[in-house]
């Protein structure tokens, strides 16, 4: 101790001084730690503003199943038949969901309880998505390191930590499959690219298990099982076949396929479904390549080999086509399902499947959605592609293909911007890293100016240009410094934009609505939860609630009552029955409701608050879906000259249908806005047509404080009349 105290301070500091390599490691680790924390905290806006609750619709189902899993154990969860939704059909939950998310959250919950942190499962569910987003940044760092170098890895981690395209589906509270699935997707891709680069069996096995996790987490695994064969095909075409590729793909495909069949929802689709046939085709093609390579190795005669090559390729292609044709004709191999087929042919859903076309997330993407979600990454993406093409390798070919295919799909469907985000961030990181490297090389070239002038290119080897080079050194260095500041400015604008978008656009729990009051104060509408808790506390436990399918999951999770249809939308006829009931006159509707044993009807109405996502605005979809199955319901009956109206000039069928009556019951006496007549609908901006509404078979049970949710009780049939 005394010896240490006797040392002068400068010696003490020198003993702490790190070598350059250690300095670099310290910088890298500290950047990654900061990025990890940043990715977590930028997703916490809604938790800080409102409270820790689950957002949207789908996460409520996931929350309910996770609750069931933690209370009843895995085997009960896996074999669960849910009789509380889709009355009277029920739903086989174990066989119709992707268990990855629930099992992950339950595992985290158990680990925390083991460490004696007694948290509620809801907190774990709310914070699962930000936690996995932080893990995704780490995977992005390693992936960037694999593709380009550590600088690109760090930039990729930073970009993906705040990118709004990813944040939109992984805020705290958004407890949905995508939060975990994007981590699994990037992890699987990283492991596969590592396997192709090293040719090691261990990495290939790891990528198979990564694929298994992805299959258990999200239906979007179809993207992986089609992108990787496409990538292998491109490598084969560009002449990059190698033993590493053979080992990696074979191991991943066979083991991944076997593991994927363990998920009941997926079942045997890997051998039966048309969407998975590309992987099988490429698998057999790889065997043909290996066989040809081996024959070439054995044969010494090239002409003989050419002929053999031609015969083999012809036979292989012919056999493959015949097998595929037989499979499709006999019906063993099912064609592409509507959801994925509409990605290849975007006009398909509009004409044939109204349920898919009605979801706003499935609309094609406009330029402003791209700008909102990507900002300057849209500039960096083509530049990054250029750098990748300059330095082609197995890994860069993969990231280029991932980027291009995912950008195309992002253009077809807004929701898929999420899948494109990691690719765009990685490619942009390559652009940033390469440009910054070029600029800093300029900055650092002060001493070597004379030598580089003489060794590089013929045009600069003249003696006069050496003097010019010395003259332009400070100019170049100033220019490089200015450009570096410009790059820093752009990136800081990116960070500002991302934080603003996160705070304003993507942090709203749709279940709680907020608006600006008269003096700029924030007004909160908590009507949904008010209605669900009323249902929970004031109705008999076996009551059945009919509503449009959007609210099904929330009613079952929070109201704890049986619903007729919910967001799973697996049975189109059942939904069409509900749609028909909502669009019929009250006398016809009551017959349908009695046949379904309905006790309560729940509608969402935005006329008092100006809330525009209410049932009256969704009504035409109910008509279309109902009319798709029951031709009694015709859409032109509800329109006037092709226009959808609710005021005096509306169609008579519209003014007397069940949905209209339930939404506008007693609304005719309501004064909603100063200076407007009573019965002024603020969401449509018109005065309603039919103010004097009398209900015969239903009675009003509950209306929330801002009239957003209205619940009606179905009266029992008359005893005597």
């Amino acid at each position: 101790m005394a010896a240490v105290a006797n040392m002068p301070v400068s010696d003490l500091l020198k003993s702490f001084k790190l070598k350059t390599k250690q300095q670099e490691l310290l910088i890298r680790v500290s950047i990654l730690c900061l990025v990890y924390i940043l990715a977590f905290i930028t997703r916490l806006f809604s938790v800080l503003r409102y409270e820790s609750m689950i957002h949207e619709f789908d996460p409520y189902f996931n929350y309910r199943t996770t609750l069931y899993l933690t209370q009843n154990g895995f085997y009960d969860f896996w074999n669960w038949f849910d009789y509380e939704s889709w009355y009277p059909l029920g739903r086989i939950v174990g066989g119709t969901l992707y268990p990855g998310l629930m099992v992950t959250a339950a595992l985290i919950y158990r680990i925390l309880h083991f460490l004696r942190f007694a948290v509620h499962i809801r907190e774990v569910c709310v914070l699962t998505a930000p936690f996995f987003a932080s893990n995704t940044t780490l995977v992005a760092y390693f992936f960037g390191k694999e593709i380009w170098d550590t600088g690109a890895g760090l930039v990729a981690a930073i970009l993906i930590a705040v990118c709004p395209g990813y944040i939109s589906r992984s805020v705290a509270g958004s407890y949905d499959n995508e939060g975990v699935a994007i981590f699994a997707l990037l992890f699987t891709f990283y492991l596969f690219v590592k396997a192709v680069n090293t040719g090691s069996l261990a990495w290939s096995l790891a990528s198979a298990f990564g694929y298994f996790y992805m299959v258990s987490a999200w239906g979007g695994y179809v993207f992986i099982i089609n992108l990787i064969p496409l990538y292998v095909l491109v490598l084969l075409i560009t002449g990059r076949y190698s033993m590493r590729l053979y080992v990696a793909y074979n191991c991943m495909y066979v083991l991944g396929m076997l593991l994927a069949m363990q998920i009941r929802f997926v079942g045997f689709q890997h051998v039966q479904s048309g969407e998975h046939m590309a992987a099988m085709g490429v698998f057999f093609l790889m065997q043909v390549f290996y066989f040809l390579d081996w024959v070439k190795h054995m044969l010494s005669d090239t002409k003989l080999f050419q002929a053999f090559l031609r015969i083999t390729v012809t036979c292989a292609v012919a056999v493959g086509t015949i097998a595929l044709g037989l499979g499709m004709l006999s019906g063993y191999i099912s064609p592409w399902t509507g959801r994925f087929y509409s990605l290849l042919d975007p006009t398909y859903a509009k004409d044939h499947i109204p349920i898919i076309a009605s979801v706003s997330e499935h609309q094609p993407t406009a330029w402003s959605s791209f700008m909102f979600d990507f900002h300057i990454l849209l500039f960096l993406f083509p530049a990054g592609l250029y750098f990748c093409f300059k330095r082609l390798s197995d890994a860069t070919i993969f990231i280029v293909m991932y980027g291009l295919t995912s950008m195309y799909f992002a253009g077809v469907m807004v929701r898929l911007i999420l899948v494109a985000t990691p690719a765009v961030c990685l490619i942009s990181a390559i652009a940033v890293s390469a440009t910054v490297k070029n600029l800093t090389v300029l900055l650092r070239s002060k001493n070597k100016g004379v030598q580089t002038g003489s060794t590089k290119g013929s045009s600069s080897s003249k003696a006069s240009s050496k003097a010019l080079l010395d003259q332009s050194q400070p100019f170049q260095k100033n220019g490089a410094i200015a450009l570096l500041f410009g790059a820093f400015y752009l990136l800081s604008k990116y960070a500002t934009h991302c934080t603003w978008v996160t705070s304003e656009a993507y942090s709203s729990p749709s279940i709680v609505l907020a608006a600006r009051g008269a003096h700029g104060s924030r007004v909160i509408f908590d009507d949904y939860r008010e209605a669900y808790f009323w249902l929970r506390q004031n109705t008999p436990p076996d009551a059945k609630v009919m509503s449009w399918w959007d609210y099904g999951y929330q009613i079952t999770a929070m109201g704890n009552r049986t619903v007729i249809v919910d967001n799973n939308t697996w049975n189109n006829t059942h939904i069409a029955t509900v749609g028909r009931a909502m669009s019929s006159y009250e006398d016809e509707a009551i017959e349908i409701m009695r046949s379904l044993d309905v006790d309560y009807v729940l509608v969402v109405f935005g006329g008092v608050t100006g809330y525009s996502s209410d049932d009256i605005n969704k009504f035409l979809w109910m008509v279309r879906i109902g009319g798709g199955v029951f031709p009694v319901i015709k859409e032109p009956d509800y329109l006037v000259n092709g226009e959808y109206r609710v005021d005096k000039g509306a169609a008579p069928k519209m003014l007397n249908c069940l949905m209209y009556k339930l939404c506008y019951y007693r609304f005719g006496e309501m004064l909603t806005e100063y200076g407007k007549p009573p019965g002024y609908d603020r969401a449509r901006g018109v005065e309603i047509g039919n103010k004097d509404i009398k209900l015969e078979h239903l009675e009003e049970a509950f209306t929330t404080s801002n009239w957003i949710v209205r619940i009606y009780k179905v009266k029992p049939p008359n005893n005597r009349w």
Binding site: M371, F372, L378, F379, P382, F389, K390, T435, T452, G457
Partner: protein, 182 residues
């Protein structure tokens, strides 16, 4: 391994005759069963004419050709081409001036983030591609094997492209979304 990229069709008459001519000196030995069948069935009595045709051999395009094609596709995707095809918005919108009754054009579709007119989509897409090309030009400018004047002009073009693209894009977003960054 480039020979693997050629998918061999059934040997057509010309190539059969070429192979036959080339193998004339060799011992007429061929492993190809199709060749033997064809030698027997039509071509024992039919005489193919002497033509100088070559099978078109296709070689893979260079990396930069592929890159320019990809840039074009990127431009189309990012300007909302698929949105235009499916939703079929008008090329440019119009509103009526309440005072004078004149019809004025509206370039940016107001009100929603995920909606556009065709022209606004194409111009924004062009700005994005311009920014990307600006960065590419900057990298080309830093390549040491060129004359200094070309390097200078590339770097000026690159910097101005990036600046223009960024400024215009921010302007477009501010027009489209009135509450942007406030």
């Amino acid at each position: 391994m480039s020979q693997k990229s050629r998918m061999a069709p059934k040997p057509d008459p010309q190539s059969a005759s070429n192979v036959a001519a080339a193998d004339a000196a060799a011992a007429q030995f061929s492993m190809d069963p199709f060749f033997h069948i064809l030698k027997l069935v039509p071509f024992s009595f039919l005489r193919p004419p002497r033509l100088r045709l070559k099978l078109p051999s296709f070689s893979l395009p260079s990396a930069m050709t592929v890159f320019s094609l990809i840039l074009l596709t990127y431009f189309m995707v990012v300007s909302g081409f698929i949105y235009d095809v499916i939703v079929e918005p008008p090329g440019i919108g119009s509103t009526q001036d309440p005072a004078t009754g004149a019809v004025r054009p509206v370039v940016f579709l107001p009100g929603r983030v995920n909606g556009q007119y065709i022209i606004e989509g194409l111009s924004s897409g062009f700005m994005f591609v311009l920014g990307g090309i600006g960065i590419v030009l900057l990298d080309l400018a830093l390549d040491k094997n060129r004359a200094r004047s070309i390097k200078v002009s590339y770097s000026i073009a690159g910097i101005s492209s990036i600046v223009i693209a960024y400024v215009m894009t921010t302007l477009f977003v501010r027009i489209k979304i009135p509450g942007y960054l406030r």
